[in-house]
Symmetry: C2
Subunit: 200 residues, 2 copies
């Protein structure tokens, strides 16, 4: 084939692909607040949630974050996002294997969930990130049915992002978009320390 032939073939293939994409875009016409779930055992779930918050506030939307596990230590994304108008609620007990006290963990989870419910009833908040809430459901520190009810009854334009491993199937069922982040490899397993700006 000559270069001209190759280019003509490329153009024809791309035109066909564009037609397919345009058709799918035309078919997708519904506007609604989305429930996004980012689950799985790989690295990048919370950063994806925070990236979505950055995207939303970059567009002038309002956003609020509840951090159910991380956030007790110095945290780069919180510093930046708070400076740019995002409100944070940090559960503040750290990983459960640090506290080793189930009762105080449950109390902290319940307080964070109570705050989350007020966000999920507030139409002035365009995006709510419930970071690592999945663990609280797995541990039964907060009630699955309450979570499902609050998500289902939220303002209809409000977006919600849920992150954390092993998201409960019932939450996945009512979600609009679900991604599973799988670990292929992790630097930590090769003796490399958690790096500031990357891992925290």
């Amino acid at each position: 084939m000559t270069d001209k032939d190759i280019n003509a073939k490329h153009k024809a293939r791309m035109q066909e692909q564009k037609a397919n994409v345009d058709k799918r875009i035309a078919a997708a016409q519904e506007d609604k607040g989305l429930l996004l779930v980012i689950t799985g055992n790989g690295k990048g779930k919370s950063t994806s949630g925070f990236g979505t918050v950055a995207r939303a506030i970059g567009h002038g939307l309002t956003a609020a974050v509840v951090q159910y596990v991380k956030g007790t230590w110095d945290c780069g994304e919180r510093d930046l996002l708070e400076k740019n108008g995002v409100t944070f609620h940090v559960m503040g007990t750290g990983f459960t294997w640090e506290t080793q006290n189930k009762e105080t963990d449950i109390q902290a989870a319940q307080a964070a969930w109570k705050h989350s419910k007020t966000l999920l009833q507030d139409p002035s908040i365009n995006l709510v990130l419930l970071d690592e809430i999945t663990y609280m459901v797995s541990y039964k520190y907060i009630d699955l049915d309450e979570v499902l009810e609050a998500l289902s009854n939220r303002p209809k334009d409000q977006h919600v992002v849920i992150t954390g491993r092993a998201c409960h199937r019932a939450i996945i069922d009512i979600a609009d978009t679900v991604s599973e982040v799988r670990p292929i490899k992790h630097a930590f397993d090769n003796g490399i320390k958690a790096q500031k700006g990357i891992d925290w």
Copy 2:
């Protein structure tokens, strides 16, 4: 079991877990610039990359972004991050099925790659995000060996994040941390439009 027994059991289990975690943290002592790859077909790869940028600049690190595919239209995260000191280079031809011209696509990819190489030689940049560069390698618009060489010879403390589907195996081999984002479901497939602040 009484409540007291349950709590004691919980505490013992958590102590054991903490000991394991602490042992792994103690074993991980190396400091180095990380190469992170976020690949796969699911939603959340670029937002995870941008979330990492937000985290890094929140810690006072410097960051630069090269967007190989997206970024030709209004983009929430760019607005926020540029305002906070991140430099952006946008390849600027849009999706390849929009341009339908292979030659100009290759020129644009080469220009973006040339800029990326200068970033990968600049020790004053702590984090480089090469957003959706994987497609350029797949299409052979930029040379795999050049990419591998530039990544391998970068300043030793510099972090790099690579996003995009179908990352080449040779890049995965030299990466420190690799996550694969798998699609479980996507709102778009159910007729819901791309939503401002979430999808762009």
